[in-house]
């Protein structure tokens, strides 16, 4: 029933033919499914930019920084079944940084949870694709989010339930780095290790930017790895745009026993669109018509 690795059987929508971007191609270790995953990520980025550009609002920066993480998860890590979103034994993915919804929607559509065409309805009246994730409206979405800091607690609940039910599924939770300012994240971090939840992996999208600017200037998080370690977590640090390294980190994280693991994924906000990269202006603003065209050319 479960579809384990969807990577290879993804439908070619005629959008996956370009060569990988230089940074990704330069990766020293070859990714597990290099071409397919990299192409998938490129397609997702195009969707993200189009969706946001089309409706005229949304959060491109944090969607693009998270894209490779999401692609790695949905096409090479998670055990899930797009034809049966409620399959009880599926791995769970919780998007705590709910404003990256466009990237999640694009990945879900590419994975087959709903038609890719539906992506263009983002944020419009009647759409199943709300501005921030809504568990009751979108197939494949596991949690409603948008108010930051709440996803890890929710994930603990799922992890405890899995343990009670003796189910083997794993819970993955994606947090923003700015989101780690929230006290609730540390309440949850403390509890997850106290409860010895080794069926839980958190990923921090460490793009160094929050809404008002650089995290180092607005609210310094460093030493971030030490923080998680002091809260009892196994810490992995990885290039969040290197799919091979990401897959490796996910493998290692799942192998940790007796405590949860966190992957601090070093990313670039706006990754893949030159003028959005490291540009805080594109945290929460849509590209203009011209910018959209330019971005799509870069991602062609």
């Amino acid at each position: 029933m479960a579809v384990r690795r969807l990577t290879v059987d993804v439908p070619d929508r005629g959008e996956t033919s370009a060569t990988p971007s230089s940074e990704e191609a330069a990766s020293t270790e070859p990714p597990v499914h290099p071409a397919a995953l990299i192409e998938k990520a490129r397609a997702v980025r195009r969707h993200v930019i189009r969706m946001i550009g089309h409706v005229g609002s949304g959060h491109p920066g944090g969607s693009l920084s998270a894209t490779d993480i999401l692609v790695a998860l949905y096409f090479a890590v998670l055990q899930h079944n797009p034809r049966d979103p409620h399959w009880p034994d599926r791995d769970r993915f919780i998007l705590s940084k709910g404003h990256a919804a466009p990237a999640l929607y694009a990945v879900l559509a590419e994975a087959g949870y709903f038609p890719v065409d539906e992506l263009s309805t983002l944020r419009q009246w009647g759409s199943r694709l709300q501005g921030h994730t809504d568990v009751n409206r979108t197939p494949g979405v596991e949690m409603s989010a948008g108010s930051l800091g709440q996803g890890l607690s929710f994930s603990i609940g799922m992890a405890l339930a899995a343990r009670l039910d003796r189910s083997g599924y794993h819970i993955y939770t994606l947090l923003g780095d700015g989101e780690c300012d929230e006290g609730q994240v540390w309440e949850a971090a403390m509890a997850a290790s106290h409860f010895h939840l080794d069926n839980l992996t958190a990923i921090v999208d460490r793009n160094q930017l929050q809404l008002d600017g650089w995290t180092s200037r607005i609210m310094d998080l460093e030493p971030l790895a030490d923080k998680w370690r002091a809260f009892g977590w196994h810490v992995l640090e990885v290039d969040g745009h290197n799919l091979a390294r990401l897959l490796d980190a996910f493998r290692q994280a799942k192998g940790v026993s007796g405590r949860p693991a966190v992957i601090i994924a070093r990313t670039i906000k706006g990754k893949g669109v030159s003028f959005m990269e490291n540009n805080v202006d594109f945290h929460g603003r849509a590209p203009s018509r011209d910018e959209l065209d330019k971005a799509l050319r870069e991602l062609a």
């Binding site: 108010s147 709440q150 996803g151 607690s153 603990i156 405890l160 006290g183």
Partner: protein, 317 residues
């Protein structure tokens, strides 16, 4: 003298009952299991009990995750910490997804007493009623508590149940049945209706008895469900008795008085008086002293009835 029984004790014992019947019942607390009485459940079912320490926000999120995974979580602490410390978590993680989370808080109101303002929960009902999809219940005694907790367990959707610290007067015969969303007629009368909730129910009955001696026939409704409100019972009371007094251990704002006033204004406008805590925080003292000082006794209810009767339109004749 009225018999008393502990509402919290009833909660703790009912949880154990539920735990025996249904393995999906799980219980959470935030370092107050000895006061909320979830400790009975913890002792019987240690694997299904999760103490979250002093992390109320995290507790609510965990409960949501458990509910999303098919469990029926009861999460407890003092009413002053949930919903106040966790409103956004209840909104985002529970109410918006409509998850099957049961919040049962003890130490509601000012009957907490000596701990003082920091521990007096006088706004929790207003907050809980601000959560679309929640059912909000304030049982009046131990028997009703046990029944309301059972009903919550078997009714899908989020609940907020507010309990109080002190043992309370028994108002219900053992055979009576709590019905969600239905006002309970405790005393018939045609001159005025007293609508009360929680610890104010016995006070309302006392007031009605006293008023009977003055020739005033007061109807008494136990409005143990604040949400969904029994608007029919309210409209009926307005139409049939022509005057309403509400009584609650809560701020004037956002609680029973404000819910009833809205229903009355939209259906059958009549004069109302509201027995509640005026816009202030209370001090430290015994529960009894606080009820006297902040105007929550049967005498205050009777006085409110007399004042509202003076404003009542003469019966159509």
């Amino acid at each position: 003298m009225a018999q008393t029984a502990s509402i919290r004790e009833a909660y703790g014992r009912t949880l154990v009952e539920l735990g025996k019947r249904d393995p999906n019942i799980v219980v959470l607390d935030a370092d107050l299991s000895k006061s909320t009485m979830t400790r009975y459940f913890a002792e019987q079912f240690p694997d299904r009990f999760f103490d979250c320490g002093l992390g109320e926000q995290n507790m609510v999120g965990i409960a949501a995750g458990l509910a999303a995974s098919g469990k029926i979580p009861f999460a407890s602490t003092f009413a002053v910490f949930v919903p106040g410390r966790t409103f956004d978590q209840l909104r985002m993680s529970v109410a918006q997804p409509g998850l099957n989370v049961k919040i049962v808080c003890t130490h509601g109101g000012i009957s907490v007493g000596e701990d003082g303002a920091s521990h007096h929960s006088i706004e929790d009902l207003g907050l809980a009623c601000s959560l679309p999809g929640f059912s909000v219940v304030v049982p009046a005694d131990a028997a009703e508590t046990a029944q309301a907790v059972m009903v919550a367990a078997s009714t899908p959707g989020p609940f907020y149940i507010r309990l109080c610290r002190p043992a309370s007067d028994v108002v219900h015969p053992a055979e009576c049945r709590f019905q969600l969303g239905v006002a309970e007629l405790l005393r018939q009368g045609d001159d005025v209706t007293i609508i009360a909730t929680g610890l104010m129910v016995p006070a309302a009955l006392e007031a009605a008895a006293a008023l009977a001696g003055e020739g005033v026939a007061g109807r008494v409704l136990n409005m143990s469900t604040l949400k969904p409100l029994d608007r029919e019972a309210v409209a009926g009371a307005a139409a049939e008795t022509g005057a309403i007094v509400t009584a609650e251990e809560h701020l004037l704002h956002g609680g029973l008085g404000s819910l009833v006033a809205q229903a009355v204004a939209e259906t059958h406008p009549v004069p109302m008086a509201m027995v509640a805590i005026k816009d202030t925080y209370a001090k430290s003292a015994s529960a009894g002293e606080l009820f006297r000082h902040y105007g929550l006794t049967s005498t205050d209810i009777a006085q409110a009835v007399r004042s509202v009767l003076q404003r009542k339109a003469p019966r159509g004749r």
